[in-house]
Symmetry: C3
Subunit: 354 residues, 3 copies
């Protein structure tokens, strides 16, 4: 007797996108202290700037700013239902920057423009390239990112032949103005780290000491908190009938865990300037223990005398300590099975106080 409704949103397919199309993602989010506590509980993050209003005020903020990655997840999560609900794979991201700090009480939202479309020769899918910008309630940019995802086609046979592929900067260019207060009198008794910009050198490798095991409730709580509704993360019944056999962890959670682990050795690098590129080399599942090491790729001077930047490569491993892990690739140039994240990003770190 009942009539099946057509009001259900099954997400967009490859054919639903066109170059130049703009999408306003629904569900702006007012960020709260509850979100901040959750982020600490889910990741164990210990960066002091995001934990103490007193320290933040000493550094020139009115109060503690949000961890950049928490803001990323809360803002980015809104694009899933429009962009990647029918994604086969998240292929990559580039030029991810964090132009302005975000604070508890701010309301963030996201808009996206389609900047590239490449149909796959198999006729079954295609790659969608997007440029997304996150705004706070005052229309200030708080997130700027590009990413590309492989998406199912609705009609597997019909070929359009579209092949418009944008190019991306290998690393985010460093601007003359960096939106961080003047850094002086950094109290290492408070931040927990004794090392500053001048102490790091290209080629240095930090084998971070801690490992964190992630359980199903952790990663699903995280992803639901971000209102990211990608089914692969939540629906164990569905996933049991796939080759994975279980829920796949949200890659963003792995990034956050790796960043949290990187605290030990990079305590004063409290700002992510950009994410230049990243690969989720292998899937992560509940029960996996994440370890990480970080290579200093480049030390970058800035015209500001109080700070410099470090381009870093943080590699997250599952169930393997970094001390006994050499290179990320096997003899065939493929990621070894232990590698779950290979992240190229740039952080800001104070210079030594004179």
């Amino acid at each position: 007797m009942s009539k099946i409704s057509t009001k259900i949103n099954f997400g967009n397919f490859f054919e639903d996108f066109e170059i130049g199309q703009k999408i306003v993602h629904p569900l702006p989010r007012t960020i709260s202290d509850g979100d901040v506590s959750f982020y600490i509980a889910l990741t164990g993050s210990r960066f002091s700037l995001n934990s103490s209003d007193i320290l933040a005020q000493e550094m020139g903020y009115t109060k503690k700013p949000l961890d950049d990655l928490l803001m990323f997840h809360l803002t980015f999560g809104k694009s899933v239902q429009d962009i990647s609900l029918n994604a086969i794979a998240n292929l990559g991201y580039a030029e991810v920057s964090f132009p302005n700090p975000v604070f508890v009480g701010d309301t963030v939202r996201l808009e996206t423009e389609i900047i590239g479309l490449k149909e796959n020769s198999n006729g079954k899918s295609g790659v969608v390239y997007v440029h997304s910008i996150g705004y706070n309630q005052d229309e200030n940019e708080v997130l700027n990112l590009k990413r590309w995802v492989m998406v199912h086609k609705r009609n597997k046979g019909e070929m359009s032949g579209i092949n418009i592929v944008p190019t991306f900067a290998k690393t985010q260019a460093i601007k003359e103005e960096i939106n961080i207060p003047v850094l002086k009198d950094i109290n290492t008794d408070v931040t927990g780290g004794n090392y500053f910009f001048e102490d790091y050198e290209a080629g240095e490798r930090l084998n971070h000491a801690e490992g964190i095991t992630i359980d199903d409730s952790d990663h699903t709580l995280a992803t639901k908190l971000y209102q990211n509704n990608a089914k692969v993360h939540f629906d164990d019944f569905m996933m049991k009938s796939t080759p994975m056999g279980q829920r796949l962890m949200y890659g963003g959670h792995v990034i956050s865990i790796a960043r949290s682990i990187s605290f030990n050795g990079l305590q004063n690098a409290q700002w992510i300037y950009s994410i230049n590129s990243g690969a989720h080399a292998n899937p992560t599942y509940a029960g996996d223990t994440i370890y990480a090491y970080t290579e200093v790729v480049e030390t970058i001077e800035h015209k500001r005398e109080d700070l410099g930047l470090l381009r870093l490569r943080t590699v997250a491993l599952k169930n393997h300590r970094p001390e006994t892990f050499d290179t990320t690739f096997d003899e065939n140039g493929k990621y070894k099975k232990e590698v779950v994240l290979d992240l190229d990003y740039t952080v800001v770190i104070p210079k030594k106080q004179k």
Copy 2:
């Protein structure tokens, strides 16, 4: 040597209740942003009114109101220790309404009157019918509900023969005044839904797309957050010696998960007007994946021109997608084993903007 204390509260038994008795439940709760973040993380709820202060202000609120069900759980949870600690089963509820919105910072509490008592013929138990009212710090009603539970008798042999059974409205009557600001200029780019009152028709069935798997930590965190101390939800050691063999999920959590899943298709139905009746048809355990479908039972016009009401029936299933599920009952008129919730409720939804 030690003397066993008699100060432990083992809860009330059937004989401890009498018609007209009033109970002030202890433990009022000041609701915080932490509770709101928890609710989103535990359920994945995406209703925009409860997520964004900006949207809430555009809709005429001072700030985002609490999700009706979160308020329900935080208020209702207080009655467990007085009413249902010795419950054999929660048999039903009726006439559940949400007279006033609740906001972060409000302090809610609950009072209950006993309105019915029916001794079971086996002499071992009886049914207790209660009318509970929740109040905020200004003594405004925020929750009004009736429910009935089967409770153990203290003295299994002694019969009182009491048999006073109240009657309940099949559906909550719709009042002339609805405590919601005038709804105009609904921004569907923000709410995520394009459908309004006029778009729905009786008999329409929405097979919601998402499924959510619930783990032990999820449902026990939820129930502890609500300070609901019913042992069956927390004590795995005890439950291992019962036919269930494990912790039983709080039925209210299943309602919240079903409501969260119903977002996809009902994005603009952001207010629960009433819960008319509900059945927890089968138990839910950790590891179950919840799916849901919703039938539009009735479309209800209101004298207000900006909104209407939809009487809905949301059925939650475990480990079975709704597309391939027909009717809830088997040939003997009993709930099929996949059905975990059969909820009859009424929501408010804006009309199309003229």
Copy 3:
């Protein structure tokens, strides 16, 4: 090619400590409503003073103070990376007091002085005795505690022969001034408890009714929330190669669960005055169900007429109900395997209203 960095903090070893050494622990923490919600969700705590601003104001506070144990965990957690990262065992604590209340918005930090060092005769380890003081942003003491931990030596062979052992008070002395507002008109309909100071007697034993099962996500979320980075709690991969075979639960979480369970029978004992001593008699792992009983050791009059103190001994058991459990020790004077906590502490409780 890469150079292994020496910037990783592997924690202090026995030789790194010296008598009189002072350590300022990094990572002060601004406490939020999110932390409070987490504490309730993780423990099921129902003490009303920490849940309701209205009640707290009726009792003379400006708003609800933090649960003493939540403040303890958030403050204490900061000392792990400096004191106990290389601990073999947390041997004990004494003279733990809570001099001033803490509120949401306060920022807490911790400092420690080394007050004792005792090298073990095996040459492999030693015991470090510390005195730690927690402060809020106004430099008021909020926590004062002593503890001793067995720590690995860096150089196993070299003996120093150091043997300086402080003495500790068996119970914390009760001060003339107790930093609690005058307690009058306690509303037992709100606190949920009908019993006051005069109702308790030494030798009384309360077999608490509830049991709570703890899962991996619960205890690891708790410990990460506290930014306590002791590896044994998080790293399942590492723990699998130890005799424990799995992650060890943070002992502080067990204390909190036991305190939460003790609510039933001690509802009005809302303030912990001191922790006199405590033993984590056996390890607790995920899946264990915690029960507890409390013995009233001593009833302590105070010059204030509105309150008294109870010295309590709360024993937490795993997978064993307290009614059927007699004594904590076996015939050899060792803790029985069911005992996971033996806590000697003192609480403040109002006297009966005249």
